[in-house]
Symmetry: C2
Subunit: 238 residues, 2 copies
């Protein structure tokens, strides 16, 4: 048996924000290995498949990743069409490098199906373009170090718009570093939880307020910062 593995981006969570190609492959899959963040409605697209939950949370990451890699190789040895389903896009904060290496070393064919990354879904949900003529010509997507004590070693991006993935815990540190780099305290900030899902929540503030903390539970939170986040005159309420 020499199965093929598809790394597929599920998008932000809503069932119909996966790509047509991704949905078609899910409906054909023999086995689907999915992240903890993939929604039940997304898994409803592959009722025929054997589901394997790869619950990966922060902490003990490298051990868990090795187990996932081994699972992928094993599954390709016993099934024709194996899907590795990840939230968002697999090539952006998706640990694809480790999984591609393991599969390639084992001689297994891999294809990647891109997905809607959380930042552009958040831009759509909040009606805030990430780029804006004359205001924002660059945007950075970043995370902080998994070891918070090393966070200050990461360079803070110098782009017009900044989007911090999994930015809940690090919100205060990010705001303080932006202020230290000369960003204006009234620069608008949009924080969004559970993008595209029924329990989506949007919070608007500025960098000064962000530096006081989010004061909210830390689900999968995205923090978007920059002048492009300023609401328009006739923009409808969130």
């Amino acid at each position: 048996m020499a199965g093929k593995v598809y790394l597929i981006g599920a998008g932000p969570g809503a069932q119909d924000l996966i790509t047509v190609r991704g949905a078609r492959l899910l409906a054909q899959a023999d086995i689907v290995l999915h992240d903890a963040l993939v929604t039940p409605e997304m898994l409803a697209l592959c009722p025929q498949a054997e589901l394997i939950a790869m619950g990966k949370r922060s902490g003990q990451r490298s051990v868990a990743q090795q187990i996932i890699n081994q699972h992928l190789v094993d599954c390709a040895g016993r099934a024709a069409l194996v899907v590795r389903l990840k939230g968002g896009d697999p090539m952006l904060f998706g640990r694809a490098d480790e999984e591609l290496r393991a599969l390639e070393e084992a001689g297994i064919e891999v294809e990647i199906v891109p997905g809607v990354t959380t930042a552009v879904a958040a831009a759509a949900a909040t009606r805030q373009p990430l780029t804006k003529r004359g205001v924002a010509r660059s945007v950075a997507f970043f995370t902080s170090s998994t070891a918070p004590e090393h966070a200050e070693l990461d360079a803070i991006p110098n782009t017009d718009t900044l989007v911090q993935y999994m930015g809940g815990r690090e919100a205060i540190a990010t705001a303080e570093r932006l202020l230290a780099h000369g960003r204006k305290p009234d620069t608008p900030v949009v924080v969004i939880e559970n993008v595209s899902r029924a329990d989506q929540r949007i919070h608007r503030m500025d960098i000064a307020a962000l530096s006081q903390g989010l004061g909210m539970p830390a689900g999968p939170v995205l923090v978007m910062i920059g002048e492009a986040m300023r609401a328009r005159l006739h923009q409808p309420a969130d």
Copy 2:
């Protein structure tokens, strides 16, 4: 008549890389206003719709944008479901701000459907993750000024990975500025044309080579730069 306008991201070009939601709305649309870069196969998803091509190329941008805005408002006045279809994602280099302003000022309901942005589709096509554990924790998407004589005023992003949209013409300037900022000449670069389409082409080089120019016709070219672009040991050929 008070129609609703959907700003929809078509994704990189392949017909099945639009989202399920985007495809469904296209099939229901009364009118579809599409960019020049949207592929014929994508427009085959809306055979019932009146198609209006919004051919926008570089030069005379603001005039063209005003005409597009007026078209959108007019169409919403005579049809129930109007789609504004853009390549990639509408909120990233999609001029969404201008169109949202015009529609909101006219009191027209707007909804945004995100799409697969070209950078993550290029990462999938080339099998090069944009982020990579221990190597790349941040990525910037940027364009240069439309006025080349002002390009040096834009800050060059300081992120680990850089992706320049519409980067063909500015390739030499970008490479020279990265070298001036201390990036290593052998930093890998991947240039990709017509991502996900039948005529997709991938070119691998380094910053030193990029500084000598691309030596190729400038279609819609994406330039990806950074250590995350280094090919893996067992990575299949492009």
